[in-house]
Symmetry: C2
Subunit: 225 residues, 2 copies
């Protein structure tokens, strides 16, 4: 297939480039040097990549499509927030499918400001998608900042878990961390009446027995809720 060959070429160029960047530094490696090392031409490099900085992100266009595709799948009755969370988990699993790439890119982005810039931009495109989805699917009677706040929150969890994964050298369980993070989001949302969460209130006699029961319940709730 033609597509396979093209993909192979793209990744060959990208890996050559990343290796050169790590060896010699981003600035001092020209695109022509990358092309030569990958046994191709400068022009071809720019056919596969929009810019020199994108050489470290050969997988992002595909992953962005994955996110977009996941967001339009039938929801099966799930809430918009759950749909976005599931889509974010799918994106993370895709990331974790290429752990070496993630680790190498992490080193590069810490080292080269230009590549860090690019990473921030790529990330913004993910957030823009989820934000638009929430804007379109969340009930309109909630606070107007909810879509932007929730997309930022979920993205923050995603990045935090992936960052820990990279810093740990690929040993941490990024998926579990993400789930822990979004659980926190869910819990916090559920506790807020303006987003439709349940609310439990009561008036009780102020006796020692009641106080003691409440304290016990509170301690349990700290772990359970």
């Amino acid at each position: 297939m033609a597509v396979e060959r093209a993909l192979e070429t793209k990744y060959r160029i990208a890996e050559t480039a990343m290796a050169l960047f790590l060896e010699q530094g981003y600035e001092s490696v020209t695109v022509e040097a990358v092309a030569d090392a990958a046994r191709t031409s400068r022009r071809t490099v720019f056919r596969y990549f929009d810019g020199k900085d994108e050489l470290a992100f050969p997988d992002h266009s595909a992953r962005l499509e994955l996110l977009a595709r996941t967001l339009v799948e039938p929801t099966g009755g799930r809430s918009p927030v759950d749909v976005v969370i599931a889509a974010t988990e799918a994106v993370m699993l895709d990331f974790l499918g290429r752990p070496e790439l993630v680790l190498r890119r992490y080193r590069l982005t810490r080292l080269v400001p230009e590549l860090r810039k690019r990473e921030v931009l790529e990330n913004e495109r993910y957030v823009a998608l989820t934000r638009a989805y929430l804007r379109d699917h969340l009930p309109q009677d909630g606070p107007s900042f909810l879509p932007v706040a929730l997309s930022a929150l979920i993205d923050a969890m995603h990045r935090s878990a992936l960052g820990n994964f990279a810093r740990s050298g690929g040993t941490s369980d990024a998926r579990a961390e993400l789930q822990e993070g979004v659980e926190w989001v869910r819990r916090v949302l559920a506790a807020d009446p303006s987003t439709g969460g349940p609310l439990l209130l009561a008036v009780l006699p102020d006796t020692a027995a009641v106080r003691q029961s409440l304290a016990a319940l509170r301690d349990q709730a700290r772990d359970l809720i």
Copy 2:
């Protein structure tokens, strides 16, 4: 003063550039054209700005310093979250001090992808500052994702309010919207036991009267809490 004259030059160049960008489009305006229109040289433009895209953000370096300065001021016993919120409000007030600049830049960034990129990057620098502050000052026993989540949240409120301000043509009360947003954050944090918020639980007999009282309380709480 030399500093005043330099600042005057910088803003003259920036305003000339923004006008040209809006008239003729970002791509088709060369830096040399900007320099000529601002009665200076190409070389001088690059002395005041790190790149062509920065021509639309003459105020960001100063505002970044403002944020950094505000974050190191004595806290006066406020919590780290409150310090970050106050600093964010200071940044927003600084933005609102130049409403024409905000509006013009908003039009530009919606129109020119290159400038939108730059805006995202500038924004990331603010978030990096607040995130680092929270990482250093928040209690260490909380969830590890709290700094990144909170900085993302507060930033989201900030951007949402400023975006509405620009979209409304400068008529909306951005400061009030920001405060509304951070109030939501505070409320939501306070409701979460893992971040030390209060928790109120009770067990009641399931009678019609009790149910009615709870419903009434719940309706009040929707507005009050």
